[in-house]
């Protein structure tokens, strides 16, 4: 007989819930006999009627103490194996919560679990009462005439009880989950700390991946399109130099194509340089920045303190900052006559300052260039500051923490 998937799912959930509930009874109620034992010893201890009582009292108390952390481990296993919920390994930490759960909350939950199981057992027994009657030999039936209306009522009640078990079990599992996680679970502080750790790690991974991707694109363009363009420009140059007897219109076309090709090379070079130049990996920030400064359309004074190499991600961001800043100066501060780039490492901080004598008035909130720049700086936990009063000068200051 095949069941519809909905029913099958409901049945497997019920099975899981019941298993979880059943597995909780023993660890939750284990402390109850210890309480009784301790209670039996307390009376004689207080009245002093039995000299052994204080010593015997030690036993249940010691067991109760051991039950705290011990039962927590059992609960961890129960939640993980039967419910798929991961509770932290507490060991001997946060004992108050562990004792609270195992001494006080546990017996209450255990009682509820026991009641639910009892309801299940009664339900099963009552719902099948007609079967019992039918199965008993007639001589053993004491005063029961057999298939009576009473038995039918009983069957109905049993089925009702079974129907109540399903939501009851689900509700109890939810309750236990709430209580278990609230008392034994990770505290909000710990959870946030772990989350920050996770995010820091994954963000570093993302930054590295983006860096690697930039390197790959740079390499691909260098090996592909750039060589092709140079070759194209070279051939056009050869045509221009050798085909001297062409009609002037044809020469003009070749010359225009030659110019276009050279401009395309310039543009592509500029684009590729903004990505992640190979020289940055080979020779470091100093060498890479001097290339940027030399290509800038205005005089740039570059002061780089002797630097030890830092991580590729930090160097990449520092390079990008200078590249974007100089591009910005060229684009928006045409009146600027000079710019200055200073790079220094102070302790664990790499400080990059770019100043220009342009008209100022740059707004970091506007312009995607500056926004992108600030974002990349933040991606390595750096800080980005900009001061650009109207009338100038504009100063951009970036601080990047560099490990090691």
């Amino acid at each position: 007989m095949t069941l519809p998937p909905r029913v099958r799912r409901a049945l497997s959930r019920l099975r899981r819930d019941l298993l979880f509930v059943a597995a909780g009874v023993l660890p939750h109620l284990l402390v109850v006999p210890l309480y009784l034992w301790a209670a039996l010893c307390i009376g004689p201890t207080l009245t002093g009627s039995d000299a052994n009582a204080p010593v015997v009292l030690m036993a249940p108390l010691a067991l109760l103490c051991a039950a705290g952390p011990g039962l927590t481990e059992v609960q961890r296993w129960r939640f993980r194996a039967l419910c798929g919920v991961e509770l932290p390994r507490l060991g001997l930490r946060r004992l108050r919560r562990q004792f609270g759960y195992n001494w006080l909350v546990g017996p209450l939950l255990g009682t509820l679990e026991l009641l639910l199981l009892a309801l299940l057992a009664t339900g099963v027994a009552a719902a099948t009462v007609l079967l019992w009657i039918w199965a008993l030999p007639w001589q053993w039936r004491i005063g029961h005439p057999g298939y009576t209306t009473q038995a039918t009522y009983l069957t109905g009640l049993g089925l009702l009880a079974l129907a109540a078990v399903v939501p009851g079990a689900a509700g109890l599992v939810r309750l236990e989950n709430l209580v278990g996680r609230a008392v034994l679970g990770v505290s909000r502080h710990d959870e946030l700390a772990r989350r920050v750790e996770d995010l820091t790690e994954s963000r570093a991974g993302a930054v590295d991946a983006a860096d690697a991707e930039r390197r790959r694109i740079e390499r691909d363009l260098h090996d592909g399109a750039q060589q092709r363009l140079v070759s194209l420009a070279l051939n056009l140059g050869l045509a221009k130099a050798t085909l001297t007897d062409l009609p002037p219109e044809a020469r003009e076309v070749i010359e225009a194509a030659h110019r276009e090709a050279k401009d395309a090379i310039e543009e592509l070079n500029h684009l590729v340089r903004g990505l992640h130049p190979a020289v940055l990996d080979e020779l470091g920030l100093d060498a890479a920045l001097s290339g940027l400064a030399a290509r800038a359309p205005l005089p740039v004074r570059l002061r780089v303190d002797p630097l030890e190499r830092t991580t590729g991600a930090v160097e990449g961001v520092a390079y990008f900052v200078v590249s974007e800043a100089l591009t910005n100066v060229a684009k928006h501060a045409r009146e600027a006559t000079r710019a200055e780039v200073t790079v220094a490492r102070i302790g664990g901080i790499l400080r990059v300052v770019i100043t220009d004598d342009g008209p100022g008035g740059a707004d970091p909130a506007r312009g995607s260039g500056l926004t992108g720049l600030a974002q990349r700086v933040r991606s390595v936990d750096g800080t980005f500051r900009m001061s650009s009063p109207v009338g100038g000068p504009t100063t951009m200051s970036v601080e990047l923490p560099c490990p090691g």
Binding site: Q227, S231, L238, I265, N269, A278, S290, G291, A294, R295
Partner: protein, 240 residues
Amino acid sequence: MSGVNAPTAPATGPGASEGANGVRRAVIAEDSVLLRIGLVKVVEMAGFTVAAEAGDAAGLLAAVAAHRPELAVVDVRMPPGFTDEGVRAALSIRREHPDTAVLLLSQYVEERYAADLLAAHTGGVGYLLKQRVADVEEFVEALRRVAGGGTALDPQVVSQLLIRRASDPLERLTAREREVLELMAEGRSNSAVAARLVVSESAVAKHINSIFTKLDLPKADADHRRVLAVLRFLGVAAGR
């Protein structure tokens, strides 16, 4: 106009070993096949015979050892590492085969490479951006100049090396004198400088004399002073 401005090539310098039959040979190392084909054409246009083509530094060194060419045109970034293979090969060629001049081609100017090259050698070397090959006539001239024992530096190399100079005697130069010095550094002769700046040759000579005075260069042999001025300008400690 080849090598007028460059250090007078000593008897052992590049260009002195022109083959007995007058054929000038060149070796080309460039990993992009497409570009290599074009380079061969231009080098041949400059009057060289291409003796061998190589796709990496090892092949280049073997070809130079085998053919002893007058000129090697070398790409900086080559397999296997795609970093500075060409520069290292160029330095080793100039060390082991002083008769072979080397012209380095690079997609970008890396000042450190240029400085390495110039610190060891002041003649028979060149460092140009790859895209300069498109300006065929100028490139042909640069090829001849380098093979003749002169130098050819990309204007970008010059401006990049210049960035290092923060404050020194160069600040005393006038803007025009700086321009003249920059063009000298690129490896141009007096008449080429004059043509570029649209002034007379005697005006250029006057500027150059003023540069020598301001840089406190001794009144010795003019060519030597010229090299010293350029090197001081570039901030490169001259080797040999």
